[in-house]
């Protein structure tokens, strides 16, 4: 058979799409969240890569006025000390109960991993850091939304205070309940990403994640992890096993 010399339309299409896909995949992220061969997780990664390639990562989410503050349901874990809840952590539920009895005076945020100065911070240490207050909209994956005012210290400031190392790529939030999650450094250093200790001008209520929760305003609500007890800075992606979203069938990236 003589060699085929003409480029058919089909060849052009397949070649073009493959090249475009290749550029999209190699262009931005060197290590993507694992898919474990799951088609849906590949789609999640496509959304993640597309958002990172096409959207300005540091654009601020819309902020509202005090008059826009709305009613706000508390869902998921609403009290990590309640051992009747299936979401409680057997080891940390009693620890949380004890801390709550002392009005969280003995609460310490632990920072470890790829940082030059691992250490612990009390709530008053965090409150002495530069604070940011923002009135933003929380969007739950379920479909509802609510507006609240959050006060906290920008996560990027805490990471820099701890001396985050140049090899760092992800920040994991370990919690007092069974959930944990992580975000990439673009979101971690977003100006509106907070470790929040205040809501609507008061201490963060327990049902909403008190004493300390994360606010990630460019992603869906479940990335704004509640009841944070420890920050772990990673050089490589960690799916957090049974505590993380991926192994439970959820997208790790939730910007959509």
């Amino acid at each position: 058979m003589p060699p085929r010399l003409r480029l058919t339309r089909r060849d052009a299409l397949i070649g073009g799409l493959t090249a475009a896909g290749g550029m999209l995949l190699t262009g931005c992220a060197t290590d993507l969240p694992p898919t474990y061969g799951h088609l849906l997780r590949m789609g999640d990664n496509l959304t993640y890569v597309a958002h990172r390639a096409l959207l300005p990562g540091q654009a601020l989410a819309r902020e509202y006025s005090r008059g826009d503050i709305s009613s706000f349901p508390a869902i998921g874990t609403t009290n990590p000390a309640d051992t009747a809840l299936p979401t409680h952590h057997p080891e940390f539920a009693p620890v949380y109960a004890e801390l709550r009895r002392g009005d969280f005076a003995d609460f310490r945020l632990d920072i470890a991993g790829s940082v030059a100065r691992p250490g612990t911070y009390s709530l008053s240490d965090l409150k002495r850091m530069p604070a940011r207050t923002q009135i933003t909209r929380h969007v739950c994956e379920e479909g509802w939304s609510a507006v609240a005012e959050w006060t906290g210290v920008p996560l990027g400031h805490v990471l820099q205070a701890a001396g985050i190392l140049p090899t760092a790529r992800y920040v994991t939030f370990q919690t007092f309940d069974r959930f944990g999650d992580n975000i990439d450094l673009l979101d971690a250093f977003h100006p509106q990403t907070l470790l929040a200790y205040g809501m609507n001008g008061r201490d963060l209520p327990v049902p909403h994640g008190g004493p300390l929760r994360v606010r990630v305003e460019t992603q869906i609500g479940y990335k704004s992890v509640k009841y944070v007890r420890r920050l772990l800075v990673h050089d490589a992606f960690d799916d957090l096993g049974a505590n993380g979203p991926i192994r439970n069938g959820w997208s790790w990236y939730a910007g959509i």
């Binding site: 789609g43 958002h51 959207l55 654009a59």
Partner: protein
């Protein structure tokens, strides 16, 4: 220019991919709506605020699994209508883990298909020839006759090609140029990453919950179109039409 008598291969291929992804989007969208079957207007809407529409489509419909609401109003003013919070004690139906990811995957397929269709359609002249009504078609007499024929179910026999009638063209053009793009844009208005980059989308639709409600209304419109479309395929000769749009005979 003459309208071809057969559907081009790329028209049949993109029609197939679009039909498949629309079915997947409709089903996964239904699953997502079941997790929170309440619709609102504006930026904010949740179980503690009034709904525009409550759909009885899952066990989450009007469930009472909430603790007594307490005030979370900034300051000490606990006036009527002030913001409250309550904790959920009811285990809701929620299959959004796969529902959302499948919805977005099908969305990507439809987006790529739509882009390919519009590009090839513009380049080949298909959009102009087959979808946009000709000037001489849009006369009062012609429009009245087309509507009258449809009302009396006097439907043209299948031709197996893209020489569409006036109402048929208008319906396709509305779906391709208005309904599907608007569905995609209202969908993206629900993305916090997208609206951080493009906050005008929130202004355009009057808020996230308005966009969600419009997204739902467009889904209902697309469903209506699909029923009409399939009915017309049946009335004009099912076998002939399906063969024409698949194998191309």
């Amino acid at each position: 220019m003459q309208v071809p008598t057969r559907h081009a291969r790329w028209v049949r291929a993109t029609h197939g991919a679009a039909a498949l992804s629309v079915v997947v989007l409709a089903c996964s969208g239904g699953v997502i709506l079941m997790a929170h079957p309440r619709l609102y207007w504006g930026e904010v809407g949740n179980d503690l605020t009034p709904a525009l529409l409550e759909l009885p489509i899952s066990r989450n419909h009007r469930h009472d699994g909430w603790t007594t609401p307490t005030s979370i109003a900034p300051g000490d003013t606990a006036s009527a209508g002030a913001p409250v919070s309550a904790s959920r004690t009811f285990e809701i139906f929620n299959q959004n883990g796969w529902g959302r990811s499948l919805h977005f995957l099908a969305g990507w397929v439809l987006f790529a298909t739509g882009l390919l269709y519009l590009t090839l359609g513009a380049v080949s002249g298909h959009l102009r020839r087959a979808l946009l009504p000709r000037r001489d078609e849009v006369t009062r007499r012609q429009v009245a006759r087309e509507i009258g024929d449809h009302l009396r179910l006097r439907i043209r026999a299948a031709t197996g090609g893209p020489d569409y009638g006036l109402l048929q063209k208008s319906a396709y053009a509305c779906i391709v140029f208005v309904a599907l793009p608007l569905t995609a844009i209202t969908g993206l208005t629900m993305s916090p990453a997208v609206t951080a980059a493009a906050p005008f989308l929130l202004t355009l639709f009057g808020g996230l919950q308005s966009a969600r409600t419009i997204h739902f209304a467009l889904w209902a419109l697309l469903l209506l179109f699909t029923f009409g479309h399939i009915t017309m395929v049946v009335l004009s000769g099912f076998r002939r039409q399906v063969r024409a749009m698949t194998v191309g005979e």
